[in-house]
Amino acid sequence: AQSVAQPEDQVNVAEGNPLTVKCTYSVSGNPYLFWYVQYPNRGLQFLLKYITGDNLVKGSYGFEAEFNKSQTSFHLKKPSALVSDSALYFCAVAPAGGGNKLTFGTGTQLKVEL
């Protein structure tokens, strides 16, 4: 069975500083990996995905993520955080070929302060 771990319930960052939201996964075979963001009282919105190819994936709003197969990680990063990035972030995984049946992590609350 596939699973995702987001070890931090909350991450606090000062505006302008780089941010990292951590994610590790477990899946049989090659993974499909995703990051979604949720703003208060809204549905989840897609940020970026890794299917195959370059290990560094760029997504919406300046976010990027690095796929590391040896460490089974897919950490979300942004070089310079904005207050408007404050939201709940979810990592998700599916096995290659089963990319539509996602397993989500428990979410990490990102708080960016002035």
């Binding site: 979604y36 809204r42 549905g43 995905k49 195959t52 990319g99 539509n100 049946k101 428990t106 979410g107």
Partner: protein, 117 residues
Amino acid sequence: NAGVTQTPKFRILKIGQSMTLQCAQDMNHNYMYWYRQDPGMGLKLIYYSVGAGITDKGEVPNGYNVSRSTTEDFPLRLELAAPSQTSVYFCASSYSKGQGAGANVLTFGAGSRLTVL
């Protein structure tokens, strides 16, 4: 193009009542899903569908039923509501073909908040 539309946005039920959460998408997506979100628990898949007439159980299907008579609609039925079904429910859709930018990406509705008292 409305995306994924869920109704109602809020509902309070009494224990034992039944109701249907409606979900419709206008993107011609073949896959549709129902998730529930509980605080600190992430999203759990209740049911999903790979096309009209085909549905399958997810991780937490007990107490729920679904149908998919058309590509556009995927209603979720709660029978005999229980307090454990108090949650926020999200419908989502996606298409599966190829490896293009949109493939395998879920589009979510705004959610339906259900309270069972």
